[in-house]
């Protein structure tokens, strides 16, 4: 009986001692936290995707309170959601243009030359290791859907030509696909940047055409047809610089002989344009 009593007394004593310690710590060592933090975090999507550049949603909420970010910095949030956060904080929502992931390759099955069969593990990284899974182009999309698997928002689906199609409505520009692609084909672009170069092969002329029917053969016509300075040729590929030149227009793509540069509104690879060239080089 005595043993039990001793035990109870010791445990009670310990409990009281630590309880008192905690109470004192709570009183004197308390860290003041902005009560708005939890509320704002509740308004954010909570996907912790990192697209805003912060470590997660809570870190983004802190940066909003600190004024380091604008509510629109969260690209995942719907416009209404952004508005709600802005109203709650009484700040300007900011005007970050929606960005989407664009693929710099259009050479799917039937377009890029296939030189061998690949029978290994069905993963882009693994195929890239052994030279690209038999695809004749050393720079193009491998079509084994690493990006589809990496996308947390189900925005990427593989089409019939084994090319990833990004749904612009679902894409939050989180950048997971950019990281997943072993060939670095994805780029996050503002949705208003309609001129997209769908090729990364630094080849020229016949060499490019021998690899893929939609490869850029570095003819430079798009650079000539666009507003001065908008498109420059670098490393046998056109580079579109929106900050440098005048307005971008679809006319720049009209004379492209292979369709490597496209004017894209919304989704990429919406239609597969099958073109039969007649002998005089016109589309028949």
């Amino acid at each position: 009986m005595g043993t039990i009593l001793t035990a109870i007394l010791i445990m009670t004593g310990l409990g009281a001692f630590f309880g008192a310690g905690l109470a004192i710590a709570n009183k004197f060592l308390k860290v003041e936290e902005d009560p708005r933090l939890d509320i704002i975090e509740g308004m954010l999507p909570g996907s912790n995707c990192g697209a805003c550049g912060e470590a997660g949603c809570r870190a983004f909420a802190e940066s909003l309170l600190g004024g380091r970010n604008k509510p629109s910095g969260c690209t995942v949030n719907s416009p209404e959601g952004v508005e709600r956060v802005a109203n709650f904080l009484g700040v300007d929502a900011g005007a970050a243009e929606k960005r989407v992931a664009r693929l710099h390759c259009a050479g799917g099955l039937g377009q890029a030359r296939q030189i061998a069969e690949y029978e290994g593990w069905g993963n882009c990284g693994a195929a890239h290791l052994v030279g690209g899974g038999g695809k004749g182009c050393s720079w193009g999309c491998l079509g084994l859907a690493d990006c589809e698997a990496a996308c947390d928002f189900d925005a990427i689906t593989m089409n019939g030509q084994r090319l990833p199609v990004v749904d612009p409505d679902r894409c939050t520009a989180c950048g997971d696909c950019v990281e997943a692609c072993p060939r670095g084909l994805f780029e996050l672009m503002p949705i208003g940047h309609n001129l997209v170069v769908q090729c990364k092969a630094p080849l020229e002329g016949d060499e490019a055409r021998a690899v893929c029917s939609v490869a850029c053969d570095a003819c430079g016509r798009c650079a000539q047809d666009a507003a001065p300075g908008l498109i420059t040729m670098a490393n046998n590929l056109p580079v579109v610089d929106y900050s440098a030149g005048g307005p971008a227009r679809p006319e720049a793509t009209f004379r492209c002989p292979t369709g490597a540069i496209r004017w894209i509104e919304g989704q990429q690879f919406k239609t597969v344009r099958l073109v039969q060239l007649t002998t005089d080089g016109r589309e028949g």
Partner: protein
């Protein structure tokens, strides 16, 4: 030396069928010259070299056509007398387009290499010696093609006490190093003496597996009296040719994980590289040709060939007769070699063999779930847990992979070979290692 064979080896490893009987008794023969040669600028580990010739220029056999693009890089020489026809992209073995110099051989040339007077390597300083080796375009001929001069230029504070020469040739099918040891023992031994002297090593050990008794005998017969060189017969096991395994087999010492053999005072080189070293100093011949084995069930006339670097693989296979059942051609050995995506690719400095396999040999077995049998753990010479690495690699858990020492994997493929469930373990690991390196490069 005791009369009983000394069964030295490392722990773990596998015993794949050797298949060496087809070619091990065939003497080295010279491959006839063909019309066109392709020399990729990046056929060694490290920075690619820079072309110093242009299309249209005439070149002679052994002439420098590309200079090193950095310290970890080496020179490239024309394997034939002829004319440069193109400097531009060409497909290499894995199907990638890479910059390459294409040379059309002059059909009226004798293709005789013009020898120069011997240079005395012993009169050179160490730095001069390494620079000279870089001018020779010498790389490790075992398959990795690591520029040799980098190994010879010891960093400050490091000393090479022991030189190990790799004559294991533990990959099945390959017999070219074996033939070099049998037919060119004098050149091998001279190369070893030169290198041991220049590196200041107190001794040199040539590790040869005991399935090559004639190689061991011929090397021993050419050792000068009182030589510092020892021929060490080793038990037959794969992957004994891996640096760290070889050191363990010869000295019974381990190289700590994450360290280089030089950290315990050892430099490892291949036997064929030694013969080339002699060719360079005694005859002035840079690395313009190499010995390789053409074998496998898809080849009509297996052979050990001396092939000029840059010969298109299609021509080599035609020379040996390739039959219609061939489904896959592997460059290198069957364990670590790479399946070719195109036969237009050329023989490069690291090509130790060309193996043609037929349909029934390349059928991929069905993969089953891992049964936790532990076979791969007993196969791994580095004492890793391949099964765990494969699982983590498939799940993309890269931080955990690094914690499980994935970067110490030498990708020998012993785990995949031994797996009863046919899990492509080494492929998964290699893919993961590539991703980890890419991520590191992005961050750094």
């Amino acid at each position: 030396m005791s009369s009983l064979p000394n069964r030295k080896s490392f722990r773990h490893g596998v015993h794949p069928l050797e298949h060496k009987e087809e070619t091990e008794h065939l003497p080295l023969e010279r491959m006839p010259f063909v019309g066109r040669y392709v020399l990729p600028l990046g056929q060694h580990i490290g920075a690619p070299c820079r072309a110093v010739v242009r299309a249209g220029e005439k070149v002679t056999r052994g002439q420098l056509i590309a200079e090193p693009g950095g310290f970890v890089s080496t020179s490239l020489h024309s394997p034939v007398t002829g004319r440069v026809v193109d400097v531009g992209p060409h497909r290499q073995g894995n199907g990638q387009l890479v910059p390459a110099i294409q040379i059309e051989a002059d059909p009226y040339s004798s293709q005789q290499f013009r020898e120069r007077d011997p240079v005395d390597p012993f009169a050179m300083g160490v730095d001069e010696f390494a620079a000279s080796v870089q001018r020779a375009g010498l790389v490790g001929l075992g398959g990795a093609a690591f520029p040799s001069h980098v190994k010879y230029k010891l960093p400050e504070g490091k000393a090479c006490e022991r030189l190990v020469i790799n004559g294991c040739e533990c990959e099945p099918y390959l017999t070219c190093d074996h033939r070099v040891m049998v037919e060119r023992p004098a050149e091998v031994v001279r190369g070893v003496s030169i290198l041991a002297e220049k590196l200041g090593a107190r001794g040199a050990w040539i590790g040869v597996e005991m399935n090559k008794p004639d190689g061991i005998d011929s090397l021993r017969a050419h050792l000068p009296a009182g030589s510092k060189i020892t021929v060490a017969p080793l038990a037959v096991k794969y992957p004994q040719g891996a640096e760290k395994m070889l050191i363990k087999a010869v000295f019974n010492e381990e190289v700590p994980a994450g360290h280089l053999p030089l950290d315990i005072g050892v430099v490892v080189n291949n036997v064929a590289t030694m013969a080339c070293l002699t060719d360079w100093f005694d005859r002035g011949q840079p690395l313009i040709e190499r010995a390789l084995t053409v074998a496998g069930p898809g080849v009509d006339r297996p052979a050990n060939l001396i092939v000029p670097i840059g010969t298109p693989i299609r021509d080599v296979l035609r020379h040996c007769g390739i039959n219609r059942d061939t489904r896959q051609v592997v460059m290198g050995g069957p364990m670590m070699g790479m399946p070719l995506a195109t036969l237009d690719a050329p023989v490069v400095k690291g090509t130790s063999g060309l193996l043609a396999f037929t349909d029934n040999m390349v059928n991929h077995p069905t993969e089953y779930a891992c049964v936790r049998c532990g076979s791969c753990l007993e196969a791994c010479g580095n004492f890793l847990n391949p099964s765990r690495l494969a699982r983590l690699a498939r799940a993309g858990r890269y931080e955990e992979l690094e914690g499980a020492f994935v970067m110490d994997c030498m990708e020998c493929g012993a785990c995949t070979y031994t797996c009863p469930s046919s899990v492509p373990i080494v492929h998964l690991i290699r893919a993961a290692k590539l991703t980890i390196r890419q991520r590191k490069a992005k961050q750094g």
